[in-house]
């Protein structure tokens, strides 16, 4: 066993006060040794995992991409191990909304060793977390990552000296290119295996103790002794107390975590001193990425670039999406639809049953191909490229003031941009926000944002019949209503907005393989979630229509559709059933109108006025979240809050519809 293994296998920082090693070091998990990946946000942990597992979908150049602990089995140099990718963290007590504090995630992963990833160009910022893991007594291996960017900035590290100071091996790595990644992990696995094989409590006296203040070291040691003696310590956090009771953390680790406030300044001071000792700033210089990074957030160029990037992203999505949609729908109608129709009619000769099934397996799948697949896939590719370049964080800074008025930090730009593609991933993307209040506010705005499906309805209902100007006008009304509703929600919801403190990642050229893998991964998740909902929704609509039950619903909805919104009764049904499939709003409206008024109703203007179409478009654009979005809301916030957000969205849509109806003379 090498010197550092002996050291890190020992009893951690407080060895000299007679504490035993933390239980987390010695508790064995079934099977392979466990290596936890630890580091600050955006240091490249997920890229490490991607290099080792070939899964690129979770890596992004956005701080806070990993939102939970992800376990993966890896095999390096003939040795198997479980790799736990933990969310980026600044300290042991750091916590993301909805997640336990970092120490809990780390220790519950039961790591046998920690692979700590630091930025080779910014050690003073990254070493405190490494020191914190070390203070818990966890065996560590350090990867000095982003070494290429550090070198471009004229920074070289004395890795030998750093290894001496930390009493841990240090590897030079470039995660994006895979340089040094396998060697670092192989070392970590070896250390983890050694750790597993050693009996509990085995350890040698610590020879290199970080020079924290002796009184602090003694005080933490004394607290640990009290905890070990079973003494009840009032100031201990309840989560820590229960972790101590269940043996997830040792008395030593608990005392270390409980003393975080006093230990952190010591760690930061030490990190600054050590960084100064090992960093060689020969010819420090600005790189081109630095200069561009400053330009994209500058007042003069930042906003025009932001507008250009946003409009460019939407234009690209629309252009590529439309082309793909035409191709797919033509292919479906020409080659697949006749076969599916013939097959269903032959297999199920009962007309009502076969017609109901065709709603799902012909028109249902066709609408997936017309809206869901082309627009969402293109949008995911564009967003993945923007994420990978590091530009998304800059948009958060540029739009911070705008979102502040809505009670949100600029980070909210990320989910809202995603919402114009599909609301479902946008609800998940609200995890980039820190508090539950911000997440709820952002989710409300996301629900009010027209997704690609409802945007398609707005355009298709207005552009051909009333004009392009009317379609743009409807979007403007939707934007004004959404902003007003956001302002209202910010006033009503108790609590305050957290001020923005955001690290801006360096700008990089997106890696095509990473972009494609990430977009594909999210797209696959979208298709597997949305397809069953679309098929199920279509079956319900089909059954209601084919059995004639739809007439009863029409009567029930008349007070709202006709009384409040001034629309013909069929439009009320189309709006209500759009909960199942948003793009169905228009398709249903036409189908139901044809059924009711005959083939003369092929043009929407034959049974609705221009004003009524405008109201219909605005309500559809704002409308209730679809079933899939509601599902995402329930998953993220629970039934009660999901109901509140959906209810508020519905009330806003109907309220706005009623006002617009009166303004345009439709009601």
């Amino acid at each position: 066993m090498s010197a550092w293994q002996a050291l890190t296998r020992s009893r951690g920082l407080y060895a000299r006060v007679g504490e035993s090693a933390p239980s987390t070091e010695t508790v064995q998990t079934e099977g392979h040794p466990v290596v936890a990946l630890v580091g600050r946000p955006n240091v490249g942990k997920s890229t490490f995992v991607a290099q080792l597992t070939g899964r690129y979908e979770e890596a992004a150049n956005v701080p806070g991409t990993t939102v939970g602990a992800i376990r993966r089995q890896v095999r390096v140099g003939g040795h198997d191990a479980v790799l736990v990718d933990l969310p980026g963290s600044h300290s042991l007590t750091d916590r993301s909304d909805g997640l336990p504090p970092f120490w809990q995630l780390l220790l519950h992963a039961r790591p046998d060793a920690v692979l700590a990833i630091v930025d080779a160009g910014d050690l003073s910022l990254h070493l405190p977390l490494v020191l914190a893991c070390r203070d818990l007594g966890l065996p560590i291996i350090v990867a000095a990552n982003l070494a290429d960017e550090a070198a471009a900035h004229g920074i070289e590290l004395d890795l030998g000296r750093l290894s001496q100071l930390l009493a841990a091996p240090v590897h030079r790595t470039v995660g994006r290119h895979g340089t040094g990644v396998r060697a670092a992990l192989a070392d970590a696995i070896r250390l983890a295996e050694t750790q597993r094989d050693s009996p509990p409590g085995d350890g040698r006296p610590m020879t290199s103790i970080p020079p924290y203040r002796p009184d602090l070291v003694r005080s933490v040691g004394a607290l640990a002794a009290r905890l070990r003696g079973g003494e009840s310590v009032d100031e201990l956090d309840p989560a820590l107390r229960s972790a101590l009771a269940t043996g997830t953390v040792s008395a030593l680790a608990a005392a270390t975590i409980a003393s975080a406030d006093r230990l952190e300044p010591e760690r930061w001071a030490l990190a600054t001193r050590w960084a100064a000792q090992v960093e060689n700033h020969a010819g420090a210089r600005r790189t081109r990425a630095d200069r561009i990074g400053r330009v994209v957030t500058s007042p003069r160029f930042g906003l025009p670039l932001f507008a250009f990037a946003t409009l460019g992203a939407l234009w690209l999505t629309m252009t590529v999406g439309s082309a793909m949609a035409t191709l797919l729908t033509t292919g479906w109608s020409t080659y697949v639809s006749p076969v599916v129709t013939a097959a269903i009619r032959t297999l199920l000769p009962v007309p009502m049953v076969s017609a109901t099934l065709l709603w799902a397996f012909d028109s249902g799948l066709l609408s997936m191909l017309a809206v869901g697949i082309p627009f969402v896939l293109t949008f995911y590719l564009v967003i993945a490229a923007l994420e990978d370049s590091g530009y998304l964080a800059s948009t958060a800074v540029l739009s911070d003031r705008i979102f502040n008025a809505l009670g949100l930090p600029g980070r909210a730009a990320i989910p809202l941009l995603a919402a114009t593609g599909c609301n479902v991933p946008a609800i998940y993307a609200t995890r980039v926000l820190h508090s539950r209040r911000e997440r709820l506010l952002a989710s409300f705005l996301v629900s009010l944002t027209p997704c690609s499906a409802s945007s398609a309805v707005v355009v298709a209902a207005l552009a051909p019949y009333v004009g392009v100007g009317a379609a743009l006008g409807a979007f403007a009304v939707i934007a004004v209503v959404a902003i007003a509703a956001g302002l209202g929600a910010n006033t009503i919801l108790p609590g305050r907005q957290s001020p923005l403190v955001l690290e801006l990642p360096p700008l990089r050229l997106p890696v095509p393989r990473q972009v494609a893998a990430k977009a594909w991964h999210r797209f696959r998740a979208f298709v597997t979630t949305a397809t069953p909902v679309m098929l199920g929704g279509s079956l319900v609509v089909g059954a209601l229509y084919e059995t004639g039950a739809i007439g009863t619903i029409e009567t029930a909805l008349a007070p709202v559709s006709t009384g409040l919104l001034g629309l013909p009764p069929v439009a009320g049904i189309a709006l209500a059933l759009a909960v199942l499939r948003k793009e169905l709003a228009l398709q249903l409206l036409l189908t139901l109108a044809i059924a009711q008024f005959g083939f003369g109703a092929r043009s929407l203007l034959s049974f609705m006025t221009a004003g009524q179409l405008f109201v219909f478009a605005v309500v559809t654009g704002l409308s209730v979240p679809c079933v899939a979005t509601f599902g995402a809301l329930v998953g993220e916030f629970g039934w009660r809050r999901a109901g509140a957000v959906s209810g508020a969205t519905l009330a806003t849509a109907l309220g706005a519809g009623a006002i617009v109806a009166r303004l345009v003379g439709a009601a």
Binding site: R286, G302, V501
Partner: protein, 95 residues
């Protein structure tokens, strides 16, 4: 302005001009933890890198890392301006 005058005057991170090199003197206890965890602590040296439009966040450079901080938060952070000396280049400044 003389070096001693620069240091003696009371500055906040919001009031120093863009491009300045500053030492953080005081971060209020009620400041969000995110500030401390991003390394904005007493004793560190920063470069004021720029401002976002419409009174948006102020961007500072700390070592190789750029951090955007809400403007009203920067008003609570006390700093001392560090006189620039061409003969003593600061790595944080150059990067």
């Amino acid at each position: 302005m003389a070096k001693s005058e620069l240091a003696a005057q009371e500055w906040t991170l919001a009031s120093v001009p863009v491009g300045d090199l500053v030492d953080v003197i005081h971060v209020p206890a009620e400041a969000p933890e995110a500030l401390l965890s991003h390394g904005i602590r007493p004793g560190v040296r920063l470069v004021v890198d720029g401002d976002a439009p419409f009174g948006g966040p102020r961007i500072v450079r700390l070592g190789g890392c750029r951090v955007a901080i809400a403007r009203h938060l920067t008003r609570t952070i006390r700093v001392a301006r560090v006189p620039r000396s061409p003969s003593e280049p600061c790595s944080a400044d150059l990067r």
